[in-house]
Symmetry: C2
Subunit: 512 residues, 2 copies
């Protein structure tokens, strides 16, 4: 058994059951090994950002890592933007990168680069296997590094000869350390703040945004008068009818400041102190009001369900919080507007759907609009690197074949990883993409004003992605995904229902 | 004048006249400054690999840098693959990357990363401007670093507040050191090898592949019986009728070894000792035969025209070498074959065309087929990171608006940077793309065999990019580029002539 096969067998034994791949020559033995090992599905992406974004989406739904397969330093380069998002989401990813054979690197062949240096800025753990006999153990360590709470990107670099030389067979699956329990001091500190009678906010992040944590946070809020909010960057939030309603910290500084105004005690539950996405002249970086005290109930790496349960006991919050009742709404009518789209989404969202949100400017209202829709999961961009929406959808659809995936996707962002559509078609994934076509980097129009820049024609040209207009129905068709363009709400409603009700991918280009 | 404007004015004064940009919030002041400064054209790309590949293409034709404009660490990540190729081509690039305001970085906002660390593996020079008053001087140093022979990628990181704060105005254009002259010892060493009577090869790279160097190398070869060859990685080669014919080191090891067999003296002229692109079990890494002596006439950073002239004098090679006569050929007929395509390209290539070659498996025969075509420039992938063809064409077309650009583009590679088509449409660039659709990572089929891997169905699926078939005419239409699909040579000939004879971009999908 060669090194590649020993690695694949180790990964399968460790619970890694999908490989998202864009391989090259140096990865051919790994690819060939996939045929000899049961239990590893291999999914091809035609661009590396598709691969890493899909691995992120898969793991957000499964809470364990998929692996990637990438081709040397430049292939890893293409993968970094979505690894950045995975890092900020604290998603476990086993990121496997082929490299030249160990003895070949000295010759500086054209594809040579320092792969470890490329990986390091976006990986918590980086290791180059020196030998085929050590690669299986390195694979187990990579899984452990990825899975150690809160979850991280672990990059394993695989020189070609460590894949093709003879190994000693697979390594045992690693032991994963459990989430640590929070200290009594942390719970007492939060409890004291909640009992102070001063305005308090439970800010949820990471596993604090899942259903049980949300219910517990709701119970505490109901018992103490505190508010609950999710952090701005949502890796995975369980929401909708039957769940405690949870808002989020708004993206624009001018909305975030009033949302957080008056908070005297900020209690972090797997989250961080909220800061502005960007700096703007004359605006603060930190969004909490002056004098606000910060209390850490638990970090993202800790057992937040346990912490919240303990805190609920500590403050005597015994009663379940009221949950959102299902609110039947009517789909939007007339011309297309963000509000109309929000109403239609709220009305038509199927039970247990996975909503992937990279709607940016147009999509900002869709989150509040769907608070009382049927229960669903919300996945969003966590690191601010645009181009995660389509790959995330792809990964989530592979993880959850029995659930509908609804992707709210801005056009400018979609262009970074549009190759995702091809993989959706190949794998027959049940993803309905609502492509919001405003033909602009609209968010930058606001940002130009926010930073006080005074744009002229050349500058505005850089924000305008019309001229020529992108035709998303043609782009989707070119990659095997059927689609339709809609110009009024009735068409949107019809095509959204059709997309959701038929299996396989479907793209609706919404002309804004 | 703010820091951004002081930087733009410095760049323009230093000969940087095009900015290839994919900006975000932190770059808005730079974008706004472009409106206030004459002399900088700004070209938008919808993906960062388009931006850096275009900057490479522009500078290969102009021998001075364009600048880029990229958005923080993840935007730079997307740009790295083509920066890798630029690095291997030794192309001068001023790579400008926005970052968070200096005071904002401490808060670890979602888009925060170590931008310097991301840049370093693919940049010869990296600097973060600490202050608006220093950014103009940093820009001049970046130009100097990019332009210092042989040419390099220089990355200047621009925190948002160094762009928006008040500056002291522009800095003077930098002094660029001239190319060093080679030593008498180097020339005498090469001359002695050439006079030895033993088989010698002049291996050309960098500026050694330009017209004058080629003519001088030809004269030396004619006078001494030496052979001439270009290195495998061709950044820019001047060739065709009226020029000395120059072959290149073949990509496959099994063809490169016989091509170099028998060489006793390898004389490097801006090139490196040829090595295998990848390591393969049982095959050598170094391609020169055992016992071959290596002589460095000049490095890529040195004045190679001068070195070759000196060497020609030294060996008494006084007579110009015979040049290739123009050979009229008939276009291919019948079903589409690589040979037929080669004949049609040879027949229809217009004078002074720029050929961009990322044809890979199918395209390998096009280089020999066009040796006696009308004189033209050949640009190719230098670093092995696929996805350079379309962006390189874009940059070359902007650099040379009066020349026709003909792009020979494999389908798998095209998918990495297909967003280039949109910029070609927006800018109305005169590029004819011959999209070679074999619906496979065909090169990997060979490589699977070369590395001795034994593929099964899952493995072969990873090399097959059909299922679903990509429809390139739809993809091009979706980005505003007209195109046609051809299934026999007559159609190819008609559409190639039409594409070349009409201004603006055109895509021909060739079904192989």
């Amino acid at each position: 058994m060669n090194g590649a096969e020993s690695l694949v067998r180790t990964l399968v034994a460790s619970g890694v059951e999908v490989c998202f791949a864009n391989p090259g020559t140096s990865e051919m033995h790994f690819v060939a090994a996939l045929d000899r090992v049961e239990g590893m599905r291999c999914v091809l992406g035609l661009f590396e950002g598709v691969v890493t974004g899909a691995a992120d989406g898969w793991a957000r739904m499964m809470d364990r890592p998929a692996c990637t397969l990438l081709h040397l330093g430049p292939g890893l380069g293409n993968a970094l933007a979505n690894l950045h998002n995975a890092t900020k989401a604290m998603t476990p990813v086993v990121n496997i990168v082929g490299d030249h054979a160990t003895y070949h690197r000295q010759y500086d062949a054209p594809l040579t680069s320092d792969v470890e240096a490329v990986a390091r800025p976006f990986s918590h753990w980086v290791h180059t296997s020196p030998d085929a006999k050590l690669v299986a153990a390195a694979g187990a360590r990579a899984v452990a590094a990825a899975m150690t709470p809160p979850g991280a990107v672990a990059t394993l670099i695989l020189p070609a000869d460590t894949a093709w030389n003879e190994s000693d067979g697979p390594a045992p699956a690693p032991e994963i350390p459990p989430r640590a329990r929070v200290s009594a001091e942390a719970v007492r500190g939060a409890a004291k703040a909640l009992r102070s009678g001063e305005p308090a906010l439970l800010l949820l992040g990471g596993m604090g945004m899942r259903e049980r944590a949300g219910a517990l946070a709701g119970r505490i809020a109901a018992g103490t008068g505190a508010k609950i909010m999710a952090q701005g960057s949502i890796s995975r939030l369980e929401r909708g009818a039957g769940r405690v309603p949870i808002g989020r910290v708004p993206y624009p500084v001018d909305l975030a400041l009033p949302a957080l105004a008056g908070v005297k005690h900020l209690i972090l539950v797997g989250s961080k102190v909220p800061v502005a996405f960007f700096a703007y002249p004359g605006k603060p970086s930190v969004l909490t009001p002056p004098g606000c005290q910060v209390h850490v109930l638990g970090t993202a790496a800790e057992d937040l369900d346990h912490a919240l349960e303990w805190l609920a006991d500590e403050v005597g919050a015994l009663h379940a919080a009221p949950v959102t009742p299902y609110l039947r709404t009517e789909p939007g009518t007339g011309p297309i507007t963000p509000e109309g789209l929000g109403r239609s989404l709220a009305a038509l969202l199927p039970e247990d759907a996975i909503v992937v949100d990279e709607g940016l400017t147009t999509g900002r209202g869709f989150f509040p609009a769907t608070v009382a829709s049927k229960p669903h999961t919300w996945l969003a961009n966590t690191g601010g690197s645009i181009g995660i929406g389509l790959p995330l959808s792809l990964g989530a659809a592979i993880a959850c074949p029995d659930r509908k995936v609804l992707t709210l996707q801005a056009d400018g962002s979609a262009m970074y990883t549009l190759q995702s559509l091809w993989t959706m078609a190949r794998e027959g994934l049940d993803v309905t993409v609502v492509l919001l076509s405003n033909r602009a980097y609209a968010i930058l129009h606001n940002e130009l004003m926010n930073v006080g820049a005074n744009p002229g024609r050349k500058a505005l040209d850089m924000l305008d992605i019309g001229r020529p207009d992108l035709d998303w129905v043609s782009l989707a068709k070119g990659m095997g995904v059927p689609g339709a363009r809609v110009t009024e709400m009735a068409g949107f409603n019809r095509h959204l229902a059709a997309g959701l009700n038929t299996p396989g991918p479907y793209l609706i280009e919404v002309m804004l």
